[in-house]
Every structure is written in structure tokens, then in C-alpha cells.
Symmetry: C2
Subunit: 234 residues, 2 copies
């Protein structure tokens, strides 16, 4: 088998061609108004003081999913986070110091639940997606890619609920989708649509924090979701 046949070189590999594999996480949160991402201020060179996604290197004994899970827990204190691989970025000079390829994951968390201590410890900060600072390396591209993926996925899968408290109002749900899509929805059409999906339960409780009248709380019902026929959500 000659050198030219691709996989044939598997066991004649050149150790020179080994690379560092990194994982960078786009952590999305929702504060009842805007879609946000969690960024950290780099405390070391290069690009010290610049804003960056949270990330880390893949270790020998873990998968990328493991690494992403580890990094997410490190920076938020949370495990069991919804997470999806976005893409791998491999520009030769993307990291100026060492040849590194990075696989981006986006994650959805309930913004009220993560550890405030860790936020402080890492000089982390939430930014509105539409108003975030420029990021180092190719992280801006990663965010855009993740956002697009989030839009597509949230149209067919019930992942938006991961960004909300377990009990939420219709108003919150609508604002969430408006934030994700950066577009307004008609209130009645939205509610009719959601109700027709038959995947959330209306509770007897009301949230009294945003109006005198109060608004009913709802809850995602995973069983109903699994049994349902249609494919799309929004």
C-alpha cells in the first residue's frame, strides 16, 4: 500500500502531524429579554484581557463530549446540560502559538442556576448575543455558527425549555423564541401554535412577578412530546 492511499498511512503516521484538539463552548442563557452568551476575560497571553469562549484541551482518555461536559461543569458548576456539537475549526493559524483544531459545542443553561462563585473566579460575564464584544481567534465565527444551529434545532426539537426555568409563562416562552430568532411573533398565533403542539401542560399556579393579573405557569411534558406525531415545533 503506498503513501498516497489515505488510510494506508494510518500506521506510518508522522508524529509531526499530531495536533492539539481543543473544545470551545458557546454557553447560551436567557434572561427574560435577551439571548446571552457566557464569556471569560483571558488572564494570559496571547490575547490577554480579551474576551473568549470558555474552552480547554481534549485529553487522551476522554471524548470531545466528555471534554465539553468537563469544561461546562468547570465554568458553571452544572452537569446534565443540553449540549450539541457545532463544528470543528481548523484554520492553520487559528491559534498563533501551537497548531490547534477546536471543536465547538453549544450548551443551553438556565441562567439563574449556574454558580455565581465560578463566574467571579473566572472573570466571566454574560453578554447579549447581539451586543457581545469581539472575541479572540475564530470564536466570533463559532458563535455565529452555534446561533444558526440553535435556531435550526429549536425549530424541530424542544430544546428551548432548557433555557427556561422548569415552570415558565407563555410570555417567557414567546420572548425566548423571539430572542433566538431575533424576530417578533404574534402573541395569539404563537400561543395557538404552541397549544396545538400539545407538549406543555398548563399548571394551576400563576407567576405574579410581572403583572397584577398574574400569568399562568406552564411546564414541558416529555411524555406528550415523545408520543406526538408532527415533526416541527415552530
Amino acid at each position: 500500500m503506498n503513501q498516497e492511499t489515505g488510510h494506508a498511512v494510518t500506521y506510518q503516521y508522522d508524529a509531526e502531524d499530531k495536533v492539539l484538539a481543543a473544545v470551545d463552548c458557546i454557553i447560551f442563557g436567557f434572561d427574560e429579554e435577551d439571548l446571552k452568551i457566557l464569556l471569560i476575560k483571558r488572564g494570559f497571553e496571547p490575547e490577554k484581557g480579551k474576551w473568549s469562549l470558555v474552552g480547554g484541551f481534549l485529553k487522551k482518555e476522554e471524548t470531545m463530549e466528555d471534554a465539553a461536559t468537563r469544561i461546562l461543569e468547570l465554568y458553571t458548576g452544572l452537569d446534565n446540560i443540553y449540549m450539541e456539537q457545532v463544528a470543528t475549526f481548523s484554520e492553520v493559524d487559528r491559534d498563533p502559538v501551537e497548531r490547534t483544531i477546536s471543536t465547538a459545542y453549544y450548551a443551553l443553561i438556565n441562567i439563574r442556576e449556574h454558580s455565581k462563585n465560578l463566574i467571579k473566579q473566572f472573570s466571566a460575564q454574560w453578554f447579549s448575543v447581539s451586543n457581545a464584544p469581539h472575541l479572540i481567534f475564530d470564536h466570533d465565527r463559532m458563535v455565529q455558527h452555534a446561533l444558526q444551529r440553535l435556531r435550526n434545532r429549536s425549530a424541530t426539537e424542544p430544546i428551548g425549555f432548557d433555557l427556561l426555568p422548569q415552570k415558565f409563562t407563555m410570555r417567557q416562552l414567546q420572548k425566548l423564541y423571539e430572542a433566538i430568532w431575533d424576530a417578533p411573533f404574534d402573541k395569539r398565533n404563537f400561543i395557538n401554535k404552541i397549544n396545538s403542539l400539545n407538549i406543555i401542560d398548563k399548571l394551576d399556579e400563576k407567576d405574579m412577578t410581572t403583572s397584577r393579573k398574574g400569568s399562568y405557569l406552564y411546564q414541558f411534558n416529555a411524555e406528550k412530546y415523545e408520543k406526538r406525531e408532527g415533526k416541527f415545533l415552530i
Copy 2:
């Protein structure tokens, strides 16, 4: 900055954690009836004699897109192929010999145009997607993932044309979409839908190979596609 802070370890990286980065390509073709993928029979251990995707290793001086382009040209003789990254696979033991992560790309080619010499040289063979042999490592998962991506993408982008000759009949186009979706479409509804998109031109020529009456040939019109408003195709 301590070891725990993710990116902080960038320049204290452990060379032990470097990995081999591979690229594997799911090459799709369409033979007027079935959606096919190009596979090669491995000529070396491990898994010698088993069927495999075409692939190769990422080199220090190239991006993953470069590597995929190189591999595609190596096995098909074609450049300028439509190609999209699917995902990166990183199970620790996916390659039994060396820690390797692999990024899958799918590619769409006109099945009549690639090099028959290369097919012979690499013991390559076309298989219907629905009837392909089991593949080595995690290549079956890669194919499923690629197929799903192809379905999603072909619903919003005019990429199906890359699988057809430049001039094609409505019948071929319909069969292509039926093959991609593994579902039948109504002939009249399909044609009405395609015509309403206003992105292909009807030519004066007919293809006489499949019927006595002959059927008109059509051609994708990129300018019309760029100017059009709607978002979805199918």
C-alpha cells in the same frame, strides 16, 4: 493561572494529549435510481478486507477543508466538489491502534464523472446507501449523520443539482429527492413545487433515452436562485 482554568493550560499543554486528526469522506452519488456512497476495501490491517469510507490524516500545513479536498481528489480525480463538514467523532477507542479523532465531510458528485481508473486502483465500489455493507470503526454512524445532514441541507439549499448531470429531466430530479428522502413524491405536486421556485430553466432539448416521447431537459439557474426570495426548496 492554575491548571484548572481551561484555556490557561494552552501553553502548558501536555504533548501526550496531542492526537492524530483524520478526515473521512462520505461521497454521495446518484445513479438515476438510488442514492449511493463510494466505499473502499481496506488493503491493510487492522480491519483489512473490510469496507471503509475514504479518508486520510490532517497535515500540519492544511485545514480540514484542504484535507477533505485533497482526499476527494485523490479518490475521484475531481476537484471543485460540493462538500460540507458533518461532525467530529472522538470515541477514545474508535481507532484501535492510535488515538485518532476524525472529522467527517460529505461530498456530492456526479456519479458519471469521476475517474474509473482510481476506482479500480483503490478497489473502490459504489453501494446503495440502503444496502451498504457494515463499515469499519464508526463509519456507519458517520454515514447516517451525513445522510441526515444531506436531507436537511437539500431542503433549503440547491445542492441536489450537484448529484445530477448539468442537464437533467424532471423525472431525474424527482427520483433524486425521493432517493434522498427515501419517500415517494407526487409527480404533479413535485413539478408544481419546483416550477414555483423559479430556479431552473426548461431547455429546448429532450432526453430520448428513457421514453419514446422523450422528456425535456432542465438546467439549474444560479442567478435566478440568488435573486429569489423564499428560503425553502422542498
